[in-house]
Symmetry: C2
Subunit: 419 residues, 2 copies
């Protein structure tokens, strides 16, 4: 994309109404637009980041047999009454609305009930199970306060998967597959080294633990106790001697850390399937309960986490797989030779499938460099009269201290273009 | 995808609560799930159709420089009060909700106001214009009745684009570019031959016409008068002698047709930009109004239109570009040779980038053929003891009367696999 044609501009001013660093940076860089507290629109580069995260999550869910669907935002109340999750006294963060005839509707805050309802017509025999379905979609939660930017939104993008199994053993196999897939997701997102599976409270209808995936971070709201050798942690909420014994963890191996939750997986037992009257018939003709798991990843939250986790004092620093473009091409000056060579490089890179932000704007070099840093694009390449004269390109990785002057062939090699 | 692992099943029963043929067929084929009247979830094959339509629309919008964003569903009321579109007496199909503190919010029914508000901080000078932004996203309209399946939903997926121009000439250039892009979209969707640009009412704040794109269809709610030679039509709403004269159309060249609207493009003049106080400064330092256009394509409606338009008495018939898979591979029997050859063909096709539904289920051939027809997949290929013995494959296009016995090389050729 040529920045002369891009409608968004960066801003030097930190937004006065944002306290969260992720929101400040993402707004200054023009990735998001604040509609109201906890509700953000995605501008073109922000949408690219969201799409990159979505695609990684999608590929890993597909790899373990997840089947993608898209449930609805508008929700009829009857299915939620069956599980006693309609009453605002029971679930206090619904957004609700009404049909013109006065019928109350919910605005999707989660989807266990509609998923179970939708699949119920396809399950009768043991032959119809097991399977997992997922979606990637906006959710709505009526949070009292929303001050953490993308970390806790009123409207946010989430991947939620649901597994349905015939027995506990089958459930646990699916559950562990998802846990592995989650590790793969965080690794691809650049968070692998700092994200740990963490035992947490399983909720009111199971004695099991749930599992959170926690990324170590000073901005985290959670406190976890990490066993680095084993690569697992336990959430402070359930940090008791009894639970440590149950989990085979030793207090002396654990280090207290601040962390932020970037995913969770949950045993739902048979709560929702039983409540919505969905069973299967086993090999012996007996009616049996269906064991369910649910698995969430906050896609827009991850964008906020990644933004905040990697940022430095100059701005955003996107990991390669998430970045909205791989190269920020700075053209300095507008001499025929410079324009020709910068245009040619842009053409070479894009025709080789590399996303480039081409800064062809009529602006001072310092402003272009500042934008390249603020936007956090992995590689910056400069074409100027100086580089043209030397027959080189100036390349600097966003995370490097120094730029280097390299040949055309070396540019291609660095960016993984096969000659 | 192997159908033995696919969780959805087709149904022989026409859903009792649906009168629209598109909804009946799509539910029977397991493409959609009805959440409530006018609100449908997309099951895996349905989601693939939606994604295919989205991608075609996206590519054509990008090709004319459209910049993709994603606005929010939750809407603050203040920006809508500025244009006098908040009051339920003025706009009667809002869904509204509330924050816990009682603040009223809208649930996105359209996005002119939030788009203009979001881009306002990026426009000051004439150098910042023109540009076009678009999104593809769920919209919510509180329709009194919703009986037409995907043709008129309460929650539906739409592409909406907005152009911003410095003067009427520039606006008209953008407007005509979008009209051309729309023709390209309908052509790629298989509706090119039956879809016409149609003059329609421009609304209350312009004396210009708007343009609808109407697909000829007996199920259409609209009546249009078509000049086949010129390839344009006029909506009955504005079919007056005065308008015919204005448009240079002659009554004797026009044929009355039933049609369904599959897109519309609209001159908004300066209504929204002026109301939201967004102007630009021209070359002479003068403050100037911004001329806006808006351009809609109903993505989920198109899924319904295509479903209904091409269906025959056996079920759905998807055009190639829209189909959720290209091949429906029927394995008859389970002898070692049949399994081996069907598996090998599945592997050959998928590794060549062809989407295949592999019917490896333990079911009677007649049931598999019926599903292949109902799902509307472009090509059906049968592998059976008979074809194995003859060293052929039985191939039938969904729209063909007869199956043919062809060689492996001919299968590859028919499906466009380059050897």
């Amino acid at each position: 994309m040529k920045l002369s044609q891009y409608f968004v501009k960066t801003s030097k001013n930190v937004p006065a109404d944002e306290t969260a660093r992720n929101a400040q940076l993402l707004i200054q860089a023009g990735f998001i637009h604040k509609e109201m507290a906890g509700v953000y629109a995605y501008l073109p580069l922000g949408l690219r980041v969201i799409d990159n995260i979505k695609q990684i999550v999608r590929e890993e869910m597909n790899a373990i047999g997840g089947q993608e669907v898209q449930m609805t935002t508008l929700q009829p109340k009857d299915i939620w009454e069956k599980t006693d999750r309609w009453d605002d006294k029971k679930v206090d963060n619904w957004f609700k609305t009404k049909l013109t005839n006065g019928t109350e509707l919910g605005v999707g805050l989660t989807h266990e009930e509609p998923i179970v309802d939708a699949i119920s017509s396809y399950i009768s025999s043991y032959k119809d199970l097991p399977f997992s379905v997922y979606q990637i979609q906006s959710k709505f939660r009526n949070e009292l306060r929303a001050k953490s930017g993308l970390l806790r939104g009123r409207e946010f993008i989430m991947k939620d998967m649901y597994s349905l199994a015939r027995n506990q053993e089958e459930h646990e196999k699916l559950y562990e597959q998802v846990a592995e897939a989650y590790h793969a997701v965080y690794k691809r997102l650049g968070l692998g080294d700092s994200t740990y599976r963490t035992y947490a409270d399983g909720g009111i209808f199971t004695e099991r633990f749930s599992d959170e995936f926690q990324t170590l971070s000073d901005i985290g709201e959670d406190t976890i106790y990490l066993d680095e050798a084993k690569g697992v942690a336990i959430n402070k909420e359930v940090y008791t001697d009894e639970n440590l014994a149950k989990l085979g963890l030793n207090k002396q191996d654990l280090v207290e850390k601040k962390a932020i939750e970037v995913g969770n997986i949950f045993p739902l037992e048979t709560k929702y399937t039983d409540a919505l009257d969905v069973y299967y018939t086993d090999e012996d003709g007996q009616k049996q309960s269906i064991i369910m798991g649910c698995y969430g990843i906050g896609v827009s939250r991850l964008m906020g986490v990644i933004a905040e986790h990697f940022a430095d004092d100059k701005g955003l620093v996107w990991p390669d797989n998430v970045a909205p473009a791989k190269v920020y091409l700075v053209r300095i000056g507008a001499s025929d030779e410079v324009v020709k060579q910068a245009d040619a490089l842009y053409e070479h890179l894009t025709s080789n499938g590399i996303d480039v932000l081409y800064d062809d704007r009529d602006m001072r070099p310092g402003e272009k460099f500042a934008d390249a840093d603020l936007l956090g694009i992995p590689y910056r390449i400069v074409v100027s009269d100086k580089t043209v004269a030397a027959d080189t390109y100036e390349l600097k990785a966003r995370t490097a201290d120094q730029a280097e002057q390299i040949s055309f062939a070396e540019v291609s090699k660095t960016l993984g273009i096969v000659a």
